[in-house]
Amino acid sequence: MSTTTGEKIGYVGRAMKRVEDPRLVKGIATYVDDLRLPGMLHAVFVRSPHAHARVKRIRTDAARAAGGVVGVFTGAEVNAQCGTIPCASSFPDLKSPKHTVLAGDRAYFVGHPVAVVVAATPYAAADAAELVDVDYEPLPVVTDPEKALEAGSPLTHPDLGTNAAFTWNLTGGDIDAAFAKADRVIRQRMYHQRLTPMPIEPRGCVASYQPGEGTLTLWTSTQIPHLIRTLLPGMIGIAENKLRVVAPEVGGGFGAKLNLYAEEALCSHLAMRLGAPVKWIEGRRENAAATIHGRDQVGDYEVAVSKDGRILGLRNRTIADLGSYLQLLTPAIPTLTGLVVTGAYKIPAVRMDVVGVYTNKMSTDAYRGAGRPEATYLIERLVDLVAAELGLDPVEVRRRNFPAPEEFPFNTATGLTFDSGNYEGALRKAQQLARWDELVARRTSRRRAGALFGIGVSTYVEICAMGPSKAMAAGGWEWGCVRIEISGKVTVITGVTPHGQGQETTFAQIVADRLGVPIEDIVVLHGDTSVAHYGRDTYGSRGTAVCGSAIVMCVDRILEKARRLAAALLDARPEQVEFADGAFAVKGSGGKRLGWTELAGEAYIAKNLPRGFEPGLEASAFFEPENFTFPFGTHICAVEVNRDTGDVTIVQYVAVDDCGNQINPLLVEGQVQGGIAHSIGQALFERTVYDEHGQLLTGEFMDYPMPRAEDIPDYVLGSTVTPSPVNPLGVKGVGEAGTIGATPAIANAVMDALRPLGVTHLDLPLAPEKLWRAIRQGHKE
């Protein structure tokens, strides 16, 4: 039961600028690197230049003797005290190497930390790091995950005896029957390239130990302070309740900061060991080499179809390049791909086999979309290939395979229950916004004029609001707290850790409406485990759906308590009291109204409370989601490819996303815009390159192309609203939608442009030279 005045005041649903913005725009936000503590020391890591090498000897004497140096530590001196880096996923046959904070007798990837120098200044530490002399014996390198599975391949971790970390499969329906009765089987091998997340703020942390209290505070640029507080104590030997983890302003995460990294654990250990605060700030090159990468799956995919374009079954074997170690969610990512591999379609049978493979590279893990972009890309490419093979309109093929709105909740062959959806509605709206008939006519006329013009469509569905605790390794609930302060101001505390998602604004909108207070009176706190006692943090587009719901529960509890208090103060029974416009009054009395200032004053001063009434006016709540949410949408992209150079120009981009109810349409749009930008990068130019020796060749912005303003066309963005039934706000989540829906739309458009040349499929990224070669080949044939 929630009494709201939401409709009356109406912050919710309004496109409001973020309260976070001014401090960010003015450059006065506080990031980790802005922290200066008395006596603070600085750590610099010495990293392996080899992808695989035996560490024969580390000479540290010259570094130790250098000016300002406090200590130089190698694996031999810290690994025993620091435990191993945690991985939250487990499979029955998962083989995992011991992931120590520094390399032991082997280095497994370029950038693998082998030693750390701690000095009085970052400069002294960097100077001394150059003096650490490591004697390496290069070992055979594993870079190709497919070759890594062949007999006789060198091994990334010889002690495991294999490069296969795990095999996992997912089955639903009768796959053999589906292929047996198919009119046609379409096969395609696809490679989903490795990407580097590249948040603008690299990682960094400051650890400070208070020996008197025996407490440690770790400020770190992370998405998951609470999960770190859960995981770190066991590693470094401190009680959970003596550890405080703070995520100050975080300059971008995108999944790259959804991890507990070696550097965080080691700086924490060193702060305790040295009795002084230790700061480490990651450089860009370190970030490219030693912060998780994303994607990197290759597979052979096949679909069984009837001749009218109905997809009967989907089968594939996917090889996931895990890199050299398991980070927090490394093995889980390809399984997420499996869960949504059937896309927005009624595919009755599915079989997916995944092999996770160790290679001498940085670990892969969650990168914006995390498994869903891979799934969406492969199914959306396959649908286009089906249409081409059968001579059908790709839009029509999609339509024929959608579940109808009345079929929701819809059970997929992969075992999910899609909460709500109207896929046809989003598709229709996107076609309207794109002026579909005109667009198709334009393609015809441009092709007639000799241009390579293509239209691509992607109709996606994804998983958000992670998630039901039974499906999440560390619990999927969320915690929130709402407190009416003695002054009547409202403090909201959230267990999620927004770092760009804007929940300081959206949660204030939700609470302002429900409490009937001006939004300016609300402050939203987050990201500090001593303030937000519990939380599972921010990832998987979960913040608003899961924690927003916890906050609704808090508000309901406060309203209930405040009603009892108001009734007592108004000499009425609670059910006689009504709440409107931020005040309680006896129904129909036209008499005295008690607002939050009066009620809070009474609740805390506590002179007039009824007997047995608990002072204070705050509530906290845990919300346990009963299901994930499943946002969906349609993206339409039109491109023209330059015949001479292979350059792609996006001439039109339309996206219609349905993320359920929208708390703040401006922020929804912002998330979609940024997500599509990420997709443009992935579709057209981004890729992480290791050479055959395992050397990282995209180690800086000089070589790793991020999308820039000039690459972003004018988007036409629209939405449909199909509320989710699984949370009280009816919201679904939108943080990753753009990275999931857009890449295949762009890829399909480029492939459509090249179709007249007989080109059917090219792997991402669709960079100019690759297209130029395909065009040249097409002309020859």
Binding site: P49, R285, A289, G699
Partner: protein
Amino acid sequence: MKLTGTYRCPAPRARVYAALIDPVVLQRCIEGAEQLVRTAGDEYDVRMRIGIGAVKGVFSGTVRLADMQAPEAFTLHVEGKGAPGFVSGSARIRLDDAEPGTAITCDADGQVGGVLAAVGSRLVDAAGRRMMDRFFERLGREFDPPTTS
């Protein structure tokens, strides 16, 4: 990084071969080689100062001659490390009579690691080629007729 080059040297094959395996000549021909000290039969410790534009680094490592088939061919293995990273590679050098003089074919396969690879990959091939060209240019000069002054 794979590099191939063919060079000519105005001297008979036997003399060119002898020069190529002579550490004194090698040191003169390898640009930036500051030191070449024999440690075993055909193995030398080397210290090289390599500079390409503003990028400069000192590498120390080893040079080893192998698979020697005088006067036709031998293989040169080079390994070095320094602050900017490491370099390693090998070159098969073949000598053919080519009147007048000798034709030298060099097939090199090299690897760079560390900062150099991470930020300099686009330049590594060009820089490697330059070093190879310079080496053989200097070698050629070893056989210039003495100038009279």
